[in-house]
């Protein structure tokens, strides 16, 4: 038997040597991806893998510059606003065509925006949800912040808004608002973006093939308007879902690049001359949230005690390859960050004192759940039930939380040390965790986080706390912060807006409404023969700048 197997292996290996007499293989960059794209029409997706793919072949009106969140021209050469930021005018780049030969012009831009906005548009398909449009522009149809998009001439587009919107340049640079070929969308209908069709855009790499859960292939397109600085002729996104297998693949040279190395792998990378590591600047936050239906958490002394009991620095050192302890919701790399907010302390002794002051000299292991008002808002004074104190850990890996279970256990141990005995729970799985969170049913403490999409603080603290009089997750409502953030949205200059975001973050930190823990940097592992990689906090990293030596 072993002889037969040996023979089979030998024959198979020999067969692989029979290379067809074909032309030289293209310079191929293999990206080891942790997952499969969901769709390749950026307007209808929200996952990072899909964006990693489409970013190589599609472009928005503006782009993010290198390793920053600053915007630079892309398909638009210029974007200007009127005085109150309610009318934005984009001058489009001339001489650009889509990969199918369709000319890029104002009509193409109008076509894309109208398909996203109008729910009765024939290209606003029932089967897809244009979530980011809804999210960034406040809704569809008449609810949309954009009231009209007009083609002023062939290469000028005017966006008319119902309200001031200072974050417009950053929003228009987001991959979700990449301009796709109207011809391709009309031709393929709701199959556009699926494995059979892929994307048709204006970028340097055109779609070739997508074998689901296996790979996506893109080839260099010779009709690209811009400059391709690297030497990559083909990009293959190879799906390798298992973390250990993906790391083994880069060690073996089977892939050139991967995201999310673990702290244990860091030492191996440092000792392997074939690999090097870069860090993606952090644009995220990990936090510990309170559910305000729990009577004990409505007491500022208890919240402060919990803040003092958790050892943020230890979490940052243990569970991340690289992370900094968070003093505010907003990460330091984003304008609007407030460096004057003091770093949270780790002081378990003081935590015990505060708990005693709050009436819990021995801590507690059970909490009281308050009854909701009739309209579903929080809360009456009536205690509905008493339940065990529970800490919900995230049952999923995120850039802001690489080890949800480990973090939960560490927090539980720290809390136990000050007399707070928590039960650990993961809510079931990610879907049910999110569902419980949305319905206010994570009755206890829970970890969650956020990764920014646009590089504007309105998409950070603004996203969570600027819906006034509407309690967000965990029934948390902070009108004073909301007022600041809402006002910041309407101002047009960074100089005017920045103090408001800083003030909002200072208030959030003082109130201990949600406890910011850390801002994690995503470790990127790269083969040594690869040059030109530019990590971007938003993850818009472009292979057109990369070379393989």
């Amino acid at each position: 038997m072993s002889k037969r197997l040996g023979l089979l292996l030998a024959v198979a290996l020999a067969l692989t040597m029979i290379a067809p007499a074909s032309a030289q293989e293209p310079v191929t960059f293999i990206w080891g991806s942790y997952g499969d794209p969901v769709q390749l029409y950026a307007a209808v997706v929200t996952d990072g893998v899909s964006f990693n793919v489409v970013n190589q072949g599609c472009e928005a009106l503006l782009a993010f510059d290198g390793s920053t969140t600053n915007v630079i021209p892309s398909l638009a050469t210029e974007l200007t606003a009127n005085e109150d930021a309610t009318v934005w005018t984009a001058k489009l780049r001339e001489g650009v065509t889509f990969q199918d030969g369709t000319p890029f012009n104002a009509d193409a831009v109008v076509f894309n925006f109208e398909a996203w906005r109008f729910t009765d548009n024939p290209y606003h398909w029932e089967a897809n949800f244009f979530e980011y449009y809804d999210n960034m522009f406040g809704g569809f149809d008449d609810a949309s912040l954009i009231t009209s998009v007009e083609a002023v001439d062939d290469y000028t587009v005017q966006f008319n808004l119902s309200d001031s919107y200072a974050a417009m340049p950053n929003t228009l640079a987001m991959p979700m608002f990449q301009i796709n070929s109207p011809t391709a969308i009309q031709e393929h209908g709701d199959l556009y973006g699926t494995p059979e069709v892929g994307y048709v855009c204006t970028g340097p790499y055109r779609f070739v093939e997508w074998i689901p859960d296996d790979h996506v292939t893109m080839d260099l397109w010779d009709g690209y308007w811009g400059e391709v600085e690297g030497n990559i002729e083909r990009i293959i996104y190879q799906v390798i879902p298992d973390n250990a297998a993906r790391f083994a693949a880069i060690q073996a040279g089977a892939i050139h690049f991967m995201e999310n190395a673990s702290p244990e792998e860091q030492a191996i990378i440092e000792s392997d001359p074939n690999l090097y590591m870069m860090l993606r600047p952090s644009l995220n936050v990990l936090y510990l949230a309170f559910n305000y239906r729990i009577e004990q958490f409505r007491d500022p002394l208890v919240r402060e005690a919990i803040s003092l009991a958790i050892n943020r620095q230890a979490y940052a050192d243990t569970f991340f390859v690289s992370a900094e302890v968070a003093n505010t919701y907003t990460p330091p790399m984003l304008w609007g960050y407030n460096p004057d907010v003091p770093m949270p302390e780790y002081d378990p002794d003081r935590a015990v004192e505060l708990l005693a002051e709050a009436g819990y000299p021995d801590g507690f292991s059970e909490v009281d759940v308050l009854a909701l008002n009739e309209d579903g808002t929080c809360c009456t004074d009536e205690v509905e039930e008493t339940i065990p104190l529970t800490l919900y850990w995230q049952p999923v890996t995120r850039p802001y939380n690489p080890d949800g279970e480990g973090l939960g256990q560490a927090e539980a141990a720290d809390l136990a040390a000050v007399g707070l005995e928590v039960q650990l729970d993961n809510g079931g799985d990610w879907a049910s965790f999110l569902d419980l969170g949305r319905r206010g049913q994570l009755l206890g403490l829970y970890n969650l986080g956020w990764t920014g999409d646009s590089g504007d603080p309105d998409n950070f603290s603004g996203y969570f706390f600027s819906q006034c009089n509407q309690a967000t997750q965990g029934y948390f409502d902070f009108p004073e912060v909301c007022g600041l953030l809402t006002r910041a949205k309407t101002l047009t200059t960074i100089e005017e807006r920045e103090p408001l975001y800083q003030q909002a973050d200072a208030l959030l930190a003082e109130y201990n409404g949600r406890l910011a823990i850390a801002h994690g940097q995503v470790p990127l592992v790269i083969r040594s023969n690869v040059t030109g990689w530019v990590p971007n906090p938003l993850g818009t990293e472009l292979v057109r700048f990369v070379s393989i030596e």
Binding site: A14, Q39, E131, T194, P212, A252
Partner: protein, 334 residues
Amino acid sequence: MARYIIRRTLETLPVLFGASVLVFLIVHLIPGGPESVLLGERVSEENVRQLRERLGLDRPLPEQYLIYMSNVLQGDLGNSIAGNVPIINELRQRFPATVELTICALAIAVGVGVPLGVVSAVRRGSWIDTGTMIGAMVGISMPIFWLGLLLLWIFGVQLNLLPFIGRLSPNVVIETRTGLHTVDAILSGNWSALGDAIIHLILPAITLSTVPIALIARITRSAMLEVLHMDYVRTARAKGLHERVVIREHALRNALLPVVTVIGLSLGGLLSGAVLTETIFSWPGMGRWLFNSIQGRDYPIVQSITLIVTFLFVGVNLVVDLSYAWLNPRIRYE
């Protein structure tokens, strides 16, 4: 026989119906929905309401079920919720990947497991028997992910001898006819691609075959031990037949019935996909697809795969039952 086959085939209909109702209920009753996964951290009540309405999830469950089943009966498995991808298209790619891996793994399992079981039984009490049974115990007990990663590390990384990602190397292209890369490579005369497809199969197929090898070896051994003491085996020996002929023609053939049952069950199980093996070796098969779809609450995919797997299981069982008559002509179907 024909009547039996028709009857068994008709019997599959209530099984399929029952399975479809059960799975439909289970996937809809577990907490969380596709809208939670799709919206992620930015989930809000209004977003959820809009998305549920758009996906038709706001309708009563019986109505959703009827819509789904009427589409299935018309040959339309629907589209995935997450990417709006036609399920039938993805199935065309995933199912051959699973079939190819299953056939390879099962061929290894039968090729190794049956001879081991026979030798163990014939040499009962010897070191071969003891070694085989210990090996079988280890094979059943060993975590698949551990074995897979170990093989990957040794043969893929340290020795750099075998590939361990996906079904083909980058830039290797095979004209798709059946979806089975080995078959397609042969049909198109692409020998280098054939070799590439085979060496990609080796590590995942070996990993996947360990449990079936152990099961088959143990069942073969116990079945052989039973028949080796039968009168007809003694008679065959008394007639002066060569021991090899006695074992192969008289003992093994009669011992095969339970072995075939185990092979059939293993085949059915393997065809529904092997999540761990597929994940470790980045194999784009049915198991990982089902697993990811359950996590993402992609109801149409979960329901479609379950229906197909149920159908396969029933089909494999039927084939196994029919093979009994071939193995033992005394069995008759009424």
